[in-house]
């Protein structure tokens, strides 16, 4: 009886350890960085203006608590609206250009011309056109996302194995049927990467947009902290951006897992998974 309990006990400890091993491993680097950070500040190696100690960042956070919810809401609404509009436009552009030669001839040149233009360079123009406030910010985020999705969509469509289209045609599908039942379902999982990239870029575009002339929102708060030389506040806001972006990315990854359940990679287990990594 007692020997059994001992055996169970000693067998349990590694099991728990193994279960949490991943989490522990993931925490190592952040904790080390935090430790070094605090140490560097304590020893007075850098001035607090350049790098405030972690506890100062925490203080700044508690000090800003009142402002944060409103700012987060503003930023979220700009980023999400821009992301959704841009993604929809990019997807539609990619599909339309693949579907119709006429559309390709009409919009292809413009699209090719816009693709390599650095979006940030357009900020002053957007301000001129749309004024100060939310519209230019949303427009900027949308445009960045639209370009990413447009390029990826036409690329994905170009890479569809023709066998599926031929099979669809011989089974009685017409042109529009092929789009609905072959092309869209096929490209969807291939676009998930682009959608995640667009989502990640949306936050960056939002910061840039807010730097130019927002009156609220997280980006505006960053500029405010900069003006008053509150470095710790900037750290707080950067962390908030990080958390928002990560939560958003995790949500998209959830959806991805559902839409891509037919693809091979979800079943990658064993040696392949150990080589290329798996989630």
């Amino acid at each position: 009886m007692s020997t059994l309990r001992i055996a169970a006990h000693s067998a349990l400890r590694p099991a728990i350890f193994i279960r949490h091993r991943n989490v522990l491993r993931r925490l190592v680097v952040p904790l080390v960085i935090l430790g070094v950070w605090e140490l560097v500040c304590e020893l007075g190696l850098v001035r607090p203006l350049i790098l405030p100690p972690p506890h100062a960042v925490w203080d700044a956070f508690t000090g800003m608590k009142g402002q944060l919810p409103g700012a987060i809401l503003t930023t979220l609404s700009i980023t999400l609206t821009g992301f959704l509009i841009g993604t929809a436009i990019g997807l539609a552009m990619g599909l339309v250009m693949a579907y119709s030669v006429i559309a390709r001839d009409f919009f292809g040149t413009i699209f090719d011309f816009l693709r390599p233009v650095p979006i940030f360079a357009l900020i002053p123009l957007f301000l001129l056109w749309f004024g100060i406030g939310k519209p230019p910010e949303v427009a900027l985020v949308s445009m960045g996302c639209a370009v990413i999705l447009g390029v990826s969509t036409s690329e994905a469509i170009r890479n569809i194995p023709s066998i599926y289209i031929r099979a669809g045609l011989t089974l009685g599908a017409r042109r529009s049927g092929i789009y609905r039942t072959v092309i869209i379902p096929y490209i969807f999982p291939h676009l998930v990467g682009a959608i995640r990239l667009a989502a990640a870029s949306a936050w960056g575009l939002d910061v840039a947009a807010e730097f130019m002339g927002s009156q609220q929102g997280l980006g505006y708060l960053i500029i405010e902290q900069q003006i008053y030389l509150r470095t710790a506040g900037i750290f707080v806001l950067v962390f908030v951006y990080c958390i928002l972006a990560i939560v958003f990315d995790v949500l998209i990854a959830r959806i991805e897992r559902h839409v891509t359940r037919w693809t091979e990679r979800r079943s990658a287990k064993g040696i392949v998974a150990s080589i290329v990594g798996s989630q």
Binding site: T170, L171, G172, W262
Partner: protein, 274 residues
């Protein structure tokens, strides 16, 4: 095995009539050698015709033309007396490549053509069930193709093509990628399904034994450009079973045709050597 004096399908009506076909990939007459030139072939109704020929001679090309996926430079393909240049479910095709839609479940794959015809959900379900049972697939209807073996995927492909109830079934080396055991089982099962439907079928293969075992007639194709060099009525009665393969008549006919095919490819190598 009984040897009959006439082929088992006595259906004199010509369903497919191909005449003076000319086809080349790329722009016509730009110095590109045509794959098909002056190609003629007739297929009778309810006939199971096999086409054998050396690799690259244009078998897949020919099927794609009949299916309406490729446009010819000259000549006509008449089905039931009418030219059909667009692809359609009257000529369903089973491709050499794996063409089962990986994003659809087994059942949704078989329902595909019916969905394109605008059939109701209940109707689609009923027909899909029928054909899935016919090809011997049960218990896997809700799985995705990646969860199936190669042989099962081919069964899905066959069920999907037959579910649209085509007039003609075009099969392009459907079992070529399978191992021998699976292949022989699928051949037998295919014969069973075909016997029930009596579809007109063109079965392309590079496997002579497969051609003789399955079909009413075997056509041997040459290369550069593709032509029919031999047209043999297969004299074995139906239903056929495994023992046919080992019978003397079967092996003799196989040997004779193999000789001809070897001659054809050997001849070609001689030309290429010069």
């Amino acid at each position: 095995m009984t040897v009959m004096s006439t082929p088992s399908s006595i259906a004199p009506r010509i369903l497919i009539s191909i005449s003076d076909l000319r086809f080349s990939y790329g722009p016509a007459g730009a110095g590109v050698r045509p794959i098909l030139e002056g190609f003629d072939l007739e297929v009778r109704e309810s006939e199971l015709l096999s086409i054998v020929g050396p690799s690259g001679c244009g078998k897949s090309t020919l099927l794609s033309i009949i299916a309406g996926l490729l446009r010819v430079d000259a000549g006509t393909v008449l089905v039931d007396g009418a030219e059909r240049t667009e692809p359609g479910p009257d000529r369903a095709m089973i491709f050499q490549e794996d063409a089962v839609f990986p994003w659809r479940t087994v059942r949704a794959n078989v329902e595909y053509g019916l969905q394109m015809q605008g059939k109701s959900r209940a109707e689609r379900h009923r027909i899909a069930d029928e054909y899935l049972r016919l090809v011997g697939l049960v218990d896997v209807w809700d799985l995705f193709p990646r969860q199936l073996s190669g042989g099962m995927r081919k069964r899905v492909d066959v069920a999907r093509a037959m579910a649209v109830q085509p007039q003609i079934l075009l099969l392009d080396e459907p079992f070529a990628a399978l191992d021998v055991m699976t292949k022989e089982q699928l051949q037998l099962d295919f014969l069973g399904v075909w016997a029930k439907t009596q579809l007109t079928a063109i079965f392309v293969t590079h496997d002579l034994e497969e051609a003789l075992f399955l079909s009413d007639r075997v056509v041997v194709m040459s290369r550069d450009p593709a032509r029919v060099i031999r047209d043999v009525a297969v004299p074995f009665s139906r239903p056929r079973d495994r023992t046919l393969r080992t019978s003397q008549e079967f092996q003799e006919l196989r040997g004779e045709l193999a000789e001809q095919l070897r001659f054809e490819t050997g001849d070609l190598e001689a030309i290429e050597a010069t």
